[in-house]
Amino acid sequence: MSEPVLRVDRLSKNFSGLAAVSEVTLELALGEVHAVIGPNGAGKTTLIGLLSGDLQPSSGSVRYEGKEIAGLPPERIARLGVGHLYQRTNIFPSFTAFENCRLATQARLGSSMRFLRPALRYRELNEAAERALAEVGLAGRRGTPAAALSHGEQRQLELAMTLATAPRLLLLDEPLAGMGGEESQRMVALIAGLAADHAILLVEHDMDAVFSVAHRLTVLVNGRVLASDAPEAIRRSRAVQEAYLGGEAPA
C-alpha cells in the first residue's frame, strides 16, 4: 500500500479534565475501510469530530495526505477532501433532496462569492448533484423536501451530500444507525463500492456490517486504542472479547 491518506498520531481530547480520546494512533490508506468499534462512550464520535475539525484536539497530530490538519476549522478540512457523515443526521431539512446535494456540490466551486448568475445555471453542479443522488439511490426523490424523507433516506441523502463534495477521505459515523434490513444492505454495498477510490473511516455498531466491509479494525475503549488489527485477528483477540465483544461476539 502507498503512503497513507490519513495518519493519526497520539491524538487526545480532554473535556474539562475528562479524557474522551487519549493517545489514539491509527493509519488509513486509499482503498481501505478502517472501522473503529467500541462500546458506547468509548470516544468514537469524539475521534471523528477531532478528525473533521468540529472539535479541537487537546494534543497529538492528524496528517491528511501529508499535511497537518489537527486544529484546523472544519471548512478547511472539508475543502482538503474530507467528507463527514454525522452520527445524528445533519442535513438541510427544509431544502429538497436535490438542493441538499446541489449545495454540497457548490462547495467544489472554490468560491461561492458569485452574485449574479443563478445557481441553477451551473450545469456541471446540477449534474454532479444528480449523480450523487443516483449513486445512493435517491434519484426518484429529488424534489422531496429532506424533512419529508424517511430516516433511512435521510441517511442516504447525507451520504450523497458528502459524496457530492468529492472527498477522498470519508468519515462515516454510524451510517447504518436506525436503518431497516434492506436499507442497511444497500448502504453496506454502497460503502464497499466506495472503498475502491476512497479512504473510509467507519464507526459502526452493526458488527455484521463492520466485519463484512472493514479491512482493518481499531477497538476503542474509554478513549484508548485497545487493539488495532485485521478483522479476523480482532475477532480472535481475547482482550477484545473480554473488554468489548463479550458474549455477543459475532457469529
Partner: protein
Amino acid sequence: MTRRLSAASLLPSLVAVALVAFPAVAGKFYLQLSSGIMIMAIFAMSLNLLVGCTGLVSLGHAAFFGVGAYALLLLSPQYAPASLWLTLPAAVGAAALAALAIGLLVLRSSGVYFIMATLAFAQMFFYYANGAKWLGGSDGAYIFAKPDAALFSVAPFKLADNTHFYYVALALMAATYGLLRLLLRAPFGRVLEGIRVNEQRMRSLGFATFRYKLVSFVIAGGLAGLAGYLDAAQFGFVNPELFGWRQSGTVLMMVILGGAGAVHGPILGAVALVLLQEVLADATRHWLLPMGLFIILAVLALPGGLAGLRPPRAMRRRPEARRV
C-alpha cells in the same frame, strides 16, 4: 413549470403599474409618505438579507442607516447641493465599510450574543453622534440643498421635486429588490440560505461561512446606508436617533411583520407598519399600547408574517424552493 394567467400572476404587474402611475393621482403628502415608505422598504429589505436569508438577527441595523444619512451631511457643502453621483456611492460605501468593521467583530458571536452585540454597537454610534458637535450633536443637523443629479451639467431629474424623488426612491427600491433576488438565486445566496438552515453543516461541507456572513453583512450595511442616504435627502435633516434602537426595532418589526425570508416580505411589512402607525396615532394618544399589543399578537398568531399568509407562486414553482 405551469404558466397560468391567473389573477395572482398578474398581481405583480398590476402593482408595478399602480406604483408608476401613483404620482398622477396623489397629492404632495401622499407622494412624500410613499417615498418614505419605500425608503423604509429598502432599509427593511437590507435587514432581511441578514435576518431572513442568513439567519442573523441584527438589532443594530440602524447604525448603517445612520452612517448613510450622516455621510450625505458630511459630503454636502454648507449651502450648495452635493453631487448625487458622488455622494450616493460614497454613502453606500461608508455604510458598507462600517458594516465591515462591525461585522468583523460581531460575527464572531452568534445567536443571542449577536443580537446584543449589534444593538450595543449601534448604541455606540448613537452616543458618538449625540455628543459630537461637528455632527450637530443631539439637535441634529441640516442638509440645506438636496443632492444634485446633474451629470456633465445636464440634470435628468431633480430630487427637490417630490415626484422626481418618488420615482428615484421607487427605482432604487426596485433595484434593491432585483439585486436581492439575483443574489439569492446565485450561488452566494444559496450559501446564505444554507447558513441560515444549518451553519455547522455548511462548514463541514467546506464553506468558510464566516466570510459569507461577513459579505452578507456588508451588503446589508451598504443597502441600509442607501436607505439612510435617501432618508436624509428627503427632508434634509439628520439626527442621532437615526442610529437609535427604536429605529432598529422598527425596521426589524417590518421584516418580521412582512415575513422574514421572502424578498418582497419587507416591502409589505414597511407598508403595513407605517400605515398602522398612521391609523393608530390618529386614533388615540396612547397609541403605543395597541401597537405593542398588535406586535405581541402578530408574533403569537402570524409566524410567517404577512407574506406567509399566502406563499407566492414563484416560491413554490421550482422544485428546489425550500420553504416548507
